[in-house]
Amino acid sequence: MNTRKYLNPVGVSKYTGLALISPFIIGAVLFIIYPFVCSFAVGLTNRGSFVGLDNFRDMLSGRDFPQAAGVTFKYALILVPLKLIVSLLVALLLNMELKHIGIFRTAFYIPSILGANLAVIIMWQYLFTSDGLVNQLLSAMGLSPVSWYGNTNAALFIIVLLRLWEFGSTMVIFLAALRDIPRELYEAARVDGCGSIRAFFTVTLPQIKNVIFVNLILQTIAAMQEFSAPYMLTGGGPLGSTRTVGMLIYEEMFTYGSEGTANAVSWVLFVLIAAVVTLLYKLTGRVRRDED
């Protein structure tokens, strides 16, 4: 019998929904909850024997993890705001009533769908070699070429540029949100004497603030787990200046074979990401609730 506590159509059991979502429940246990618990448990061991919190203590007091965490935060702090600003600006341009705008939308979107492809990362590597396209362009403009892979700041910059180049996915989400803003709001703003810049701040921004938040969270998480770009482009160098926490996890596991440390670092990275997301949620909480 269907209890009326659950608002299903007559004749539909309260277990029908549960049955439908059962793949997710199994998946959540196997691939989210179990790994989460397991990485902590393995993090407490060293070569199979229990060592308590030693891995965590060594990691936090050692040299590698604090450096990698610093690199990861620096990378996210540079990349995420840049990417959000560029994608919002381009979305605003694309939202204007122009003909053939679809061509531009596609052009801007393509790098983001190919960007994570290894082929593109290889291309990026060639662009920044000492006699690559970028240095040739710099010389052509009368500037001195840069040793992109030898300079600690330049190396991180190559990775930031690669990910910035892929702003299309964020842009599409902004564009959809901009399209959803009712036209009447802009007309009302114009009647009230708002210029286009003021209309942006009084109409556009408040209307898309939730989408900005979603993009901010998604991009922050993606940036904090960066692995393949530094792995392929710089190998973490020079001097560990591009070794992200993601790379450190990989190295601990597969270069040094220390399962315990790799899992401990994974777990701490999760805690860091959760803390950053919570902080962002709290910081933007007042803004998001305004005017609701």
Binding site: Y6, N8, P9, K14, Y15, T16, G17, L18, A19, L20, I21, F24, I25, I26, G27, A28, L30, F31, I32, Y34, P35, S39, V42, V90, L93, L94, L98, F104, A107, F108, L114, A116, N117, L118, A119, V120, M123, Y126, T129, D131, Q136, L137, I173, A176, A177, R179, V211, I217, I221, M232, V245, I249, Y250, M253, S266, W267, F270, I273, A274, V277
Partner: protein, 275 residues
């Protein structure tokens, strides 16, 4: 005048965005010396030798072999991901059940869970089961609605379909699953296509997963075969071969995107992540 100015800005940004890709295609026809001596993407003379070499790769296997490997991962993965995400989203969107809020919160948590965090324990799990170096670790998880994002997008699409449709179907004698297949599926087709395309592109791009789970060169997907070619030609003499391999490797993604472009973009924008 203002419009012209906007077009100019858009064209300039577009050119900067696409030039690297254009350069990549051009470079695949250039000689090794020309690749690093000319900024212009057009090769002086089209030399297709690099493609003949590229197809042979640096391993005993051809690129065709690696393409087949990649598709052996992509095809089951796409079928699994679409089926499981549609069922789960249908359950969340149309039915009421115990602990619904809790499970939806868990779904969101799963979306926020970084894959790099769970990949080490997953590796240990598959290693204990003796399933490393097979495609099971790469495909099987999709059977369990692994991508919370897909479920999330689909739920929004389901909610856009009026409930009267379900009721009418039920009166006509359709059960829960029949209603889904005959009535709701046609309505959410753009979202289903988006999910299939995303799964395709992400799997083409996936690097960390195969890098950790697959060990034998024979079973490598394209991304690992490409990395191998970079590693073994690192000293800088066969770059155009690697570049030609990269160009070939990008063709499936570009083709799928071109075919699905219209429906795909409307799929993400219409119900996707807004609001």
């Amino acid at each position: 005048m203002k419009k012209l100015f906007l077009y100019l800005i858009l064209a300039a940004v577009g050119a900067v965005m696409l030039y690297p890709l254009l350069w990549l295609v051009g470079a695949s026809f250039k000689s090794n010396e020309e690749i690093f001596s000319s900024i212009w993407f057009m090769p002086q003379n089209f030399d297709t030798d690099s493609y003949k070499n590229a197809w042979q790769t640096v391993t005993p296997y051809t690129m065709g072999h690696y393409f087949l490997n990649t598709f052996a991962i992509i095809i089951p993965k796409t079928v699994f991901a679409v089926t499981s995400s549609v069922l789960v989203a249908y359950g969340f969107a149309r039915f009421d059940f115990p602990l619904k809020k809790f499970f939806f919160a868990l779904l969101i948590c799963g979306m926020l869970m970084p894959s790099i965090v769970t990949i080490m324990p997953r590796y240990l799990m598959w290693s204990k089961l003796g399933l490393l170096d097979t495609y099971i670790p790469l495909t099987l998880p999709s059977l369990f609605a692994e991508e919370g994002m897909f479920v999330f997008i689909l739920v929004r699409f389901f909610k856009g379909v009026p409930r009267e449709f379900d009721e009418a179907a039920r009166i006509d004698g359709c059960g829960t699953l029949k209603t889904l297949f005959y009535v709701l599926m046609p309505c959410i087709r753009p979202a289903v296509i988006s999910i299939a395309v995303f799964t395709f592109l992400w799997t083409m791009n996936d690097f960390l997963g195969p890098l950790i789970m697959i060990q034998s060169v024979e079973k490598y997907p394209l991304s690992l075969a490409l990395r191998l070619s970079v590693d073994s030609t690192g000293q800088g003499y066969e770059q155009r071969k690697v570049i030609a391999m990269s160009v070939i490797g990008l063709i499936p993604s570009v083709a799928v995107f071109a075919l699905a472009q219209k429906k795909f973009v409307s799929g993400i924008t219409a119900g996707g992540l807004t609001g």
